[in-house]
Amino acid sequence: MIVFDKPKSLTDAPLHYCPGCTHGIIHRLVAEAIDELGIEGRTIGVAPVGCAVMAYDYFACDMVEAAHGRAPAVATGIKRANPENIVFTYQGDGDLASIGTAETVHSATRNENITVIFVNNAIYGMTGGQMAPTSLPGQITQTSPYGRDTNLCGFPVKICEMLSQLEGPEFLARVAVNNVKNIKNAKATIKKAFENQVNGKGFSLVEVISSCPTNWGMTPKDALKWIDDNMIPYYPLGVYKDRSGEAK
């Protein structure tokens, strides 16, 4: 009996991500949620501009490529057009927290009934390792070669904390995928974010602390440790808002 296999809502296309990149894990968790909820036939995903730009080749459901940062606006359109569709966005830190900040905040405050998967790896991977709004103070990147100077560039953006101030959103949570325990918790959280949409509860965002071994200049194994040592202390894991949960 098979106890673990590739989910059906991932296609057979080999992933183009770097060895050890956590995008692959997160794609699988999203696909597992879609499989387990039996919603593949009515799901539409919105791909970002970033390393996951070709996510439309990896998910077996209908997919739409959005302009950089605009996925929540595109998702709003798709959801308003056919509300019975389950619509998710999959975005990196540049997409969601830099150029797309307005779309992120406003889709949250409107409580659009969509699911947003936010991959936070504190760097711009696709374009070769530049500073992200989520890059840590002192972090060396291609555009902060002497380390992120908070006097020049300010402090990192904490999306879950920020959005939790709004009355609109239904569910905001931060998870990580750097070890098996965290992955299992991330899976349950991502599934809940989809379940909320199925039940008409509203805007559900899961921020997934991820690695970028290539641009962090580390081995995949060391990158996962860097998450424990540096990312999680700055971006604490947990549920930041759960309107239905708090109502109980």
């Binding site: 009996m1 106890v3 673990f4 991500y17 995949p220 194994k221």
Partner: protein, 68 residues
């Protein structure tokens, strides 16, 4: 007894599965490379496998199937 199948040609040799295996029965092959030029993972002792699926949980490329 658990059985693992590996899609070796898709393995990128990232080594994350090796790290999380509680039985330490996975390793990156030293003398093999696949068509993409990566050294893929291989099992050292199938009989020790408990089917925990930690390796498959960690694998970013879904190359591991676990049967029990």
């Amino acid at each position: 007894m658990a059985k693992l199948t590996f899609k070796t040609e898709l393995c990128k040799g990232c080594g994350l599965c090796v790290e999380v295996c509680p039985k330490k029965i996975l390793q990156i092959a030293k003398d093999k490379i696949n068509k993409k030029g990566h050294s893929p993972v291989e099992m050292t002792d199938q009989s020790q496998c408990i089917g925990c699926a930690f390796c498959a949980t960690m694998c970013p490329d879904c190359i591991i199937t676990v049967e029990k």
